[in-house]
């Protein structure tokens, strides 16, 4: 594949592996050399092997619009993305700082709201947030931690800096795919692992278990369950995988019942057995029909009572989604200064809050250059990407912002970094039906990526080394979301090599 790599040109974009034509970055040098020396046939073989592994291991992702197809194979690119260990160590410090501040913020707003009284941020932003739950007022979860599992999205701009794009605090997904991506890579590129100090990710399930167990410090051996919305949920594969890997009981709301003693019980062949910790993968709205949506069939009536009485720990704590709001996001650097007295290590993407007159004025004048996001959507829905949009769409958003400025923020259009990705030259149009036609040529081309590390907070804080790299498989596209056809890559945190030891 020498020709393909020699010709590879990221242009003016920041590339994760290649500094300039013919110049791999230091941490990527060995990987690129290795891939350069593979014959096209061998490379194709690796791609096909990875696809076979994904099918055999049943790694799937459900796309709701894909009627009847619950088995879309997980889209994966075999060329890993590399981050040097020194850079990552800094990032990790920043992520820990951020989650500490976010948890202090949530704790604060349900217990007096000092930050609001001190005028650091306007109160109505919090009170109007869709994630704010009155039912949580006065509650303090174990260790004062609300967001036990956080999946923050990081993006690198053309200035080479990693920015936090958003904090996913409600039910962040993707960590199973991070683990499986590593498993696939180990099978497809086994030789390379001997020559590079790649930080392992396989400890995550054990860390998850530890964190969940730490939510019941009063119990030696708590019963811990993962609660899924069910077998047709888009993330069911991940729920089952995590339960299997971490040794959790996998259950649905219908398997649970709250007793008169306010403990939560699961229906077993022996009758009812107590559950002490629940890792729920179901939104607040559906968790308890007594408190939130009455029509929810997925939840457990009374589970909020049990939680408030301290008889069951729930991760993430109900109500933690209040900090998963794109308007509140704009204030996270202020939170870090306010609660921790520190300067933020990781920068936010510069954000215009449309409720502020000055910001809104600017946004309305520059709509066509900006990305506009509603406060409470996930998965990239309901957004305007100015430069890639039409004049009508821009006008539509102008109206939306003028009608409800509180619900919108805007950010400059980032130039997401790219990384070498294998593409079939003749099948760009449909990335899901990659041809296995041996005559089609594989080319190596730059594709945009982001990164979702996962942060566990209980008694201690743990950050995955790296995370899930998502890649926009279509040329020029910035959409990396799995629900909208993005792919993924293994992510390596690589240290400096001295005789095989990382320094």
């Amino acid at each position: 594949m020498k020709k393909e790599w020699n010709q590879y040109d990221p242009g003016s974009l920041y590339d994760e592996l290649i500094a300039a034509v013919h110049q791999p970055r230091e941490a990527s040098y060995k990987l690129v050399e290795y891939l350069r020396h593979l014959t096209p046939d061998r490379f194709r073989q690796c791609v096909q092997e990875s696809e076979a592994v994904i099918r055999e291991m049943g790694i799937t992702f459900t796309v709701y619009s894909d009627a009847g197809n619950i088995d879309r194979a997980w889209p994966f690119d075999i060329i890993p993305r590399i981050i040097p260990a020194a850079e990552w160590d800094c990032t990790e410090i920043g992520l820990k700082q951020r989650i500490r501040a976010l948890n202090m913020f949530i704790q604060d707003i349900y217990n007096g709201g000092k930050i609001l009284k001190d005028g650091v941020m306007p109160a109505d932003i919090v009170l109007q947030s869709k994630g704010y739950r009155k039912a949580c007022i006065g509650m303090t979860p174990p260790h004062g931690v609300w967001a036990n599992i956080c999946g923050s999205d990081l993006v690198r701009h053309s200035d080479g800096v990693l920015y936090v794009l958003e904090d996913n605090l409600r039910v962040p997904s993707g960590v199973a795919y991070m683990l499986e991506n590593r498993n696939i890579t180990k099978r497809v590129l086994p030789e390379i692992f001997n020559t590079l100090p790649i930080r392992p990710v396989s400890n995550y399930p054990a860390q998850l278990y530890e964190m969940l167990a730490s939510l019941r410090p009063d119990l030696d051996d708590p019963t811990i369950a993962l609660m899924t919305p069910g077998i047709y949920n888009s993330a069911y594969f991940e729920h089952a995988f995590l339960a299997q890997q971490a040794g959790l009981v996998l259950l649905e709301g219908a398997d649970l019942v709250v007793g008169k003693d306010e403990y939560v019980y699961m229906k077993t062949i022996k009758g009812l057995e107590r559950v002490d910790v629940i890792y729920r993968r179901i939104d607040d709205d559906f968790i308890d029909p007594e408190v939130f949506r009455e029509d929810s069939m997925l939840g457990v009536p009374g589970i909020m009572r049990a939680w408030k009485a301290g008889k069951v720990a729930i991760a993430n704590a109900p109500g933690c989604g209040v900090a998963d709001d794109k308007v509140i996001y704009a204030y996270v650097p202020d939170m870090i200064r306010y609660y921790l007295g520190e300067e933020p290590t990781l920068p936010n993407v510069p954000t215009y809050v449309c409720r502020r007159d000055k910001d809104r004025e600017y946004v309305l004048e520059h709509l066509a250059e900006l990305v506009v996001k509603p406060a409470n959507e996930s998965g990239g829905y309901g957004m305007l990407v100015g430069p890639h949009s039409t004049a009508e769409k821009v006008e539509e958003f102008r109206k939306l912002i003028q009608e409800d400025p509180n619900n919108y923020i805007a950010q400059p259009t980032l130039s997401l970094s790219v990384t070498p990705t294998s593409c079939e030259t003749d099948t760009e149009a449909d990335v899901h039906r990659r041809t296995t036609d041996p005559k089609s040529r594989i080319k190596i081309a730059p594709r945009h990526v982001d990164l979702r590390p996962f942060i566990l907070s209980g008694k201690d804080i743990f950050v995955t080394p790296g995370g899930l790299t998502r890649v926009a498989l279509v040329e020029g596209s910035l959409v990396v979301n799995s629900s909208q056809g993005g792919g993924s890559k293994d992510t390596w945190i690589v240290g400096d090599v001295v005789e095989g030891e990382e320094v």
Partner: protein
């Protein structure tokens, strides 16, 4: 363990057993037809009767020829007892019980699924079909082997064993019933002349030929084959062995009294008559009865362990 999961692993084991037996049965039936004189009209339709699927079959197919019957029994997902349906159910039940199963089972279930996807279009061809059916049997045995080697003897395992033995009993009774039907068929005078071949094939359909020859020391003939498959205490495929094994498993589970009593009753009924003394053409009545009792036994198992919240007071005590 969760009642819902108990139900899923129980059905997983049932479908696994059913899939393997269905594959074996179709292969053996095909082999039987090759042993018989070419001029004989081979009764493919017996296979449909075996699964009590006459009605579903006639709704979807006009002619009961080899191609249609093979399509129906192997590939047709409209047929609740087709091989494809059974294997899809194995996979779905594995998918929804990953937290209690050894992890490689999921990969194996996917391999069968891929095998099916690739092979089903070619099953009309006898050669390709036989290879496919052998692969299915091999995969089923791989799953069973992995479960036997890597799974703790916990309640999940108990429910799988119960499911496996119940399905095995049911399949054995159906295969005995088929033989009875074959022999009572008006057109089977010729077939009766070949009844040694018929009984040998029957043993092969249950992977029982070698053990029969080793332990029974008798030529292969109807009465002793029937006795072997109904009563033998050492052969794991016999009705008596399976039912007794099922009872033993139930003892490990909470509140097993009702289902154990029922299993014991089925065992006694099945052993009460000397099956070897009954004319072959009447055996199917006995087998029908056995199958209906197995249905009752299943209902008892489900009531006791799968839906405990519907079955009484004790579970709600203390709340």
């Amino acid at each position: 363990m969760l009642s819902r999961v108990a139900e899923r692993v129980y059905w997983m084991a049932r479908y696994l057993e059913r899939a393997e037996k269905t594959a074996r049965l179709i292969n053996v039936h095909t082999a039987l037809l090759m042993d018989l004189p070419g001029r004989m009209e081979i009764n493919w339709f017996t296979l449909i009767r075996l699964f009590n699927a006459e009605k579903v079959f006639s709704e979807h197919y006009e002619r009961g020829n080899e191609a249609n019957i093979m399509q129906f029994l192997i590939a047709d997902i409209n047929n609740p007892s087709s091989l494809a349906t059974s294997l899809a159910n194995v996979r779905e039940n594995v998918r929804t019980s990953l937290d209690v199963l050894p992890e490689e089972i999921w990969a194996q279930a996917n391999q069968i699924h891929l095998l099916m996807t690739n092979s089903l279009p070619r099953i009309a061809d006898r050669y390709a079909r036989q290879i496919f059916l052998r692969e299915v049997m091999k995969h089923c045995q791989c799953i069973r082997g992995a479960l036997d080697s890597h799974m703790s003897r916990d309640h999940s395992f108990d429910f799988m064993q119960i499911g496996k033995h119940l399905e095995r009993t049911d399949m054995t009774s159906r295969i005995l019933e088929m033989t009875s039907l074959l022999l009572s068929d008006d057109r089977s005078d010729t077939l009766r002349k070949y009844d040694g071949i018929l009984w040998t094939n029957l043993l092969q359909a249950l992977s029982a030929r070698q053990m029969y020859l080793q332990h029974i020391h008798s030529r292969v003939e109807g009465a002793s084959v029937m006795r072997f498959l109904m009563n033998d205490n050492a052969f794991p495929g016999s009705v008596g062995y399976s039912l007794a094994a099922m009872s033993r498993r139930m003892r490990y589970l909470p509140d097993p009294d009702m289902p154990m009593t029922m299993a014991q009753r089925v065992l006694e009924h099945s052993q009460a008559q000397d099956v070897g003394a009954i004319p072959a053409e009447h055996v199917h009545t006995l087998m029908d009865y056995l199958q209906s009792e197995l249905g009752v036994l299943h209902a008892e198992i489900a009531k006791t362990w799968f839906y405990p919240d519907r079955s009484g007071q004790q579970q709600t005590q203390g709340l």
